[in-house]
Point group: C2
Chain length 251, copies 2
């Protein structure tokens, strides 16, 4: 089997409404799951920042150097607080202006008579960018170097995500295996620690408390690019669980 390389990404959420707690973010989990499942790309860092140009520029520069891809969400609409496109142009020192193809798409969508200044603003971006088409509301996202810019509204973002695929190199998918146990974390922490040590190069084991049916439990989640290693961890875990007579919750 040809070995694929690890490909990673960061997500940069641009928006005062998420930072202030007014709006509950839904894009992080969606993008992260989609990237892993469809492209074998792991999200390694997420940042949420305000609609402030110099802060956006600084984060675009540092994250685009550090990770294979950066996904931005928010700030590409028609209003004054939508400053993602101009900030990315400044971050990369490339020309900002009307993007010919984006302009044509939006003019066709709205009709010449209704294509006002606010709508025209959505055609402004780094002119070197390539478009990420938008099947729900026309206004396209765009990719500038390794930075992919998407809107903040989850339903529109979700409809566009497949159109990012053509710009992404595929990496090795991370598989996961979850075992839900009716016990407390401290009852299996030693065993988990030993198994994690044994497989530390290939498998990440996490343990997360849950509350269900009035009982406390622990979800043990193993993650690895190797299905074989994941199975070995599962077998080791099952042996320990049997020894300790811990019940498994089948869901």
């Amino acid at each position: 089997m040809k070995k694929k390389k690890k490909v990673n990404a960061a997500i940069l959420i641009i928006g005062n409404e998420i930072l202030s707690g007014r709006t509950q973010d839904k894009n992080i989990a969606f993008i992260s799951n989609w990237l892993n499942l469809n492209c074998g790309i792991s999200v390694s860092e997420v940042r949420i920042i305000p609609d402030v140009e110099k802060i956006i520029i600084k984060n675009i520069r540092s994250l685009s150097k550090k990770f294979n891809y950066v996904f931005t969400t928010g700030g590409i609409g028609p209003t004054h607080d939508d400053i993602t496109a101009q900030s990315i142009a400044k971050a990369f020192k490339v020309k900002y202006g009307y993007h010919k193809e984006a302009y044509e798409i939006l003019e066709t969508y709205y009709g010449k008579a209704n294509f006002n200044d606010g709508r025209k603003k959505m055609a402004k971006m780094p002119i070197v960018s390539k478009l990420i088409y938008n099947p729900s509301s026309a206004a396209p996202g765009f990719i500038t170097k390794n930075v992919l810019s998407l809107p903040g509204v989850p339903s529109i973002l979700n409809s566009m995500i497949e159109n990012c695929k053509r710009y992404l190199i595929k990496g090795s998918k991370v598989h996961s295996k979850t075992v839900n146990l009716f016990t407390v974390e401290s009852n299996i922490s030693k065993q988990l620690n030993n198994i994690q040590k044994k497989y530390k190069k290939h498998v990440d084991i996490g343990s997360y408390p849950f509350f269900r049916l009035g009982k406390i439990g622990v979800s043990v989640v193993s993650r690895s690019t190797s299905k074989g290693k994941l199975l070995n961890v599962y077998k080791d875990l099952m042996k320990e669980i049997k020894k300790k007579k811990i019940k498994i919750l089948n869901i």
Copy 2:
């Protein structure tokens, strides 16, 4: 009126389960809302990072320098992947070990006979830290310099948040006023831009599309520490809305 100063904070979410998209974060919005409402503290940046010691250390160092407070969530339980406490000790180069008061609390809670190594681990932290008491499950959070460490489980975090108050300096609360309009953003973008320019020093105006009752709308959210300025923005906005004959959604 005595003028309060601006106090800000960052939130550092430590956990592979959030980054991978397996778990939907609920702590960011909760902490951010609570801080503003109860302490007049604004969250200025959020980062989500994996359970990797050197990454935690780097982020603790940079965020604690940049903001008045840093809130961490996750990684303070009994298992091998809970490495927040030791990472913070290393970040600040302070001694990590059993915290006397935390040890006593946990030993009393579990009873001597059941106080196993996993549970004892939750009493290990920077020994200079002060405790953030936990009324739901005993294991305390802690504050080290300006970094407050809380657990990742939302119900437990929520029960502890009031116990952070004693460690925080109060700032000026940000008030907000939302007007929901039955129109599209591009129809009012020019007007919003003008109002924002007029009040740029004191008020942040954001515009967010929504979909309700089968119609598209825009929420215009103004935020300011000054209630007077907020009222002025509201009056200016109402004038423009009347001129354009835009309907308001009363909710």
